[in-house]
Symmetry: C2
Subunit: 219 residues, 2 copies
DNA sequence: GTCTATAGTTGGATAGAC
DNA sequence: GTCTATCCAACTATAGAC
């Protein structure tokens, strides 16, 4: 007979996954401080003890939650970019996609900041914060590389440096948006930074649709 | 008879100030979650009940703490800038001073992010986050205006916009520095943003403090 | 594997003595 | 104004029944 959809008697890994789902739901809604073992158990529809059976302690659950969020966020941001006539167009498209993803996940964004600060305060969770930034940095580098190739341009400075700067800016803009709720201003700020980034690229291959060429001089 | 230095029988306002001091010490050290009413009372050397006598509840104490931090941080950042030959020099000096202030107050910086996220999660503390950003925005505008006049330049775009962008960038750079501890990279990122800001200014008056005019022809 | 029951802490808040 | 004593709620974690 089929194994059915009942919640009881799940393999541990499956149970862990569902508990992380529950933890995410609670933390997204009411913040990291509200994510207690009790509420997670309640949200998952299991008894309190089950959580402690699947995770050594609360920190381990939080660690798993952080990994889950990192996977969700970096996985979502990897949509392909269409070819673009120039770097400004490609950057605008990238910013659009990026901001759309951010705007529809406000709770998760806020939660990310909460997890970062909490990890910095908790000795045993130091690796969590490192992982968050390593993943974000990698995603930013991937996106910039994609933008470059979509526009047929290359970057004048190391992509890692540009990605770090872009990441910092997006972080700051997002945090402020969470506070003031002004999405229009946030988008304008991102557009402004995209303008700056455009000055950091130079055409590296001839675009088929661009008859004229402009000479490159350094800085 | 003098009123002495004993801790007992203080006027309420003085007592409140000392409790905020204590709250700041605790929160800087161990984070906002560790800032319990009990620990604050202990740190201040008073009984638990005293805190509840001076503050209606914990949120009111936290509100006062947030105000205190905002005052400290924006007050510290208002050092005068010397006259500078050009905008790049003025910006470099401003960044130096800004970063020096940030680097020597890591605990407070982290605490600021914690307070922001906590305020966003707590309906009664919404005003706290708004106040933080209003003060930061004002300080950033003040600094940029100062930079402009020190270099005898004016900004091509509204100072408010540039300040908001600078604030976002500094926020993001600071948060990442708190995670990875790489002050050199942080400074490099700020310097890079200063370069961008320099392109947003144009000379508006002849420098007067120099008898020899090495004047600025724009290369 | 899952549940109930409970131990053991810690925290916010208040009442009432001094 | 300050302190002690106490209430009550919520939390983490574990032990042991099923």
């Amino acid at each position: 007979m089929c194994h059915g959809r009942v919640n009881t008697r799940l393999p541990v890994l499956e149970r862990r996954a569902r508990l992380v789902d529950a933890a995410l739901a609670v933390a997204e809604q009411d913040g990291i401080a509200a994510m207690t073992v009790r509420r997670v158990a309640e949200q998952a529809g299991v008894a309190l003890g089950v959580v402690h059976y699947c995770f050594a302690d609360k920190d381990e659950l939080l660690d798993a939650l952080a990994s889950r969020i990192v996977d969700d966020l970096t996985g979502a941001g990897s949509a392909a970019l269409d070819d673009a006539p120039d770097i400004a167009t490609a950057l605008a498209a990238a910013v659009d996609g990026l901001w759309a993803g951010i705007e529809q996940s406000a709770g998760t964004q806020l939660l990310t900041y909460e997890i970062t600060t909490h990890a910095l305060r908790t000795p045993g969770l130091r690796a969590v914060a490192d992982r968050q930034y390593a993943a974000s940095q990698a995603a930013a580098e991937r996106l910039l590389t994609l933008v470059g190739s979509a526009a047929g341009a290359s970057w004048r400075r190391p992509v890692a440096d540009l990605a770090a700067e872009a990441l910092a800016f997006v972080d700051g803009v997002t945090l402020r948006w969470l506070v003031d709720g002004d999405a229009t201003a946030a988008r304008a700020r991102l557009a402004s930074f995209a303008n700056y980034l455009a000055t950091q690229a130079k055409p590296s291959r001839r675009r088929s649709s661009r008859p004229h060429h402009r000479d490159g001089f350094r800085r």
